[in-house]
Symmetry: C2
Subunit: 251 residues, 2 copies
């Protein structure tokens, strides 16, 4: 095939409708859309690079660049000699991508969770704002106590748009919620943004965590975004940082 413009004057008519971004960007977005649609199951293998290239009518190098980008976003996992796979929300990935609390001795460990309550209510103002919900929207609220190494250290409040999670019930709640969202509701969390503050633990949380009034805690306000860009979960975690810290690499 003759070289084509990098800005997109391709011969294939289907590609012309995509737009004027670089071709590998367009390929990335097409693959992203198919991932969001669930075209391949979690953990499933994608077609090989030459197969995708032929299917999309671009060169293998262009497909490779798109796949590399999606792998860098932790949406795909590439394994030499085996293939390219849809990333799963297993504990390893959560620990690597979404969990930044580390014991002061350096151990990264996935916390245990005890669900204290699952309730339904109309979304309050903060929930509406953070999740982008209408004033009439309803949410599930989950309250959990989390422990690390047997020590209670996180009091957590979670809000989920009710419309996205039909039939959610307390006994279905596993420790790894993102795995549940993916497997039961086809919602794949792709990224999250966190805002951290230092606060004095509110009395309820202090009691829950078994510490005195006036104890400081790290408040982590996390908004989780799905692969299609929807705001899926708002989570407020108050963490005791006496034996833990939040690790952040500035690279």
């Amino acid at each position: 095939m003759a070289p084509r413009s990098p800005s997109g004057q391709p011969r294939a008519p289907e590609a012309a409708a995509i737009g004027f971004r670089p071709l590998y960007r367009q390929v990335r977005e097409r693959l992203l859309r198919r991932l969001a649609e669930g075209a391949w199951p979690a953990g499933g293998m994608l077609p090989s690079e030459p197969a995708l290239a032929a299917e999309l009518g671009v060169s293998p190098g262009t497909v490779r660049k798109a796949l590399d980008a999606l792998a860098a976003e932790n949406l795909l996992v590439r394994r030499q000699g085996r293939g390219t796979f849809v990333a799963r929300h297993d504990e390893r990935r959560i620990l690597f991508q979404f969990f930044r609390l580390v014991s002061d001795r350096g151990e990264r460990q996935f916390p245990e969770s005890e669900v204290l309550a699952l309730t339904r209510a109309g979304a309050n103002a903060r929930e509406q704002a953070r999740l982008g919900l209408a004033a009439s929207a309803r949410v599930f609220r989950i309250r959990r106590l989390r422990t690390l190494g047997g020590r209670a250290c996180i009091a957590e409040s979670i809000a989920l748009p009710e419309a996205l999670f039909p039939g959610l019930s307390e006994r279905t709640l596993p420790n790894n919620l993102y795995g549940l969202y993916a497997e039961e509701y086809g919602i794949s969390i792709a990224r999250a943004s966190e805002r951290l503050k230092a606060v004095i633990l509110p009395p309820g949380d202090a009691t829950l965590l078994g510490v005195g009034p006036g104890t400081p805690a790290l408040a982590i306000d996390r908004l989780a975004i799905a692969i299609d860009g929807r705001r899926v979960e708002w989570r407020l975690s108050r963490c005791l940082t006496r034996h833990l810290h939040y690790a952040s690499e500035l690279v």
Copy 2:
């Protein structure tokens, strides 16, 4: 030139001494070493891709991959149509790479600093451990009060190995310390790792920041690493997060 093994069986004898990593990795490390040696001044332009490729005896694509990697690490800046440049430690870069505190209204702003003291002392146990110093080593200690939008919000204590910063004196201390390290001492900070905890502000810091006893603060413990891997600076910042938060993107 004939294709060569990706594991490195190159013809050029100089390259044979590098090792068995991928060629683009080897090229990245050679360029990194030259950056660390100060072969090009901060803000200076590197040779063009074809020139580097000819000089190193590899294909332009391989050089490109190495340059892209260094640009992704914020050590180089690539500008289409102009060239590839050594990244400078200007306020924009600091704000982008090293400063995570954001006003709750969303503005990212570089804080002002007032130096309260610059002293010299033998390194204490924590300084020795964090900076990897011998028991006999000496350090500079800097104490600063930092303000954002006119509001005092950060009490900061900094420790620097005395051996790395000969002649450091109080009147030479600018607001942007990383710029000083680079320009006056040829030390380029490449990355940093931070550990965050929630604490009760010690009385001295509370007085300095003009808040009452028992006020919670975000303690940011940062170790800054130079481009050659040396531990250069240990910094402990205690931040009031009443109108600020620490932003962290989980991608």
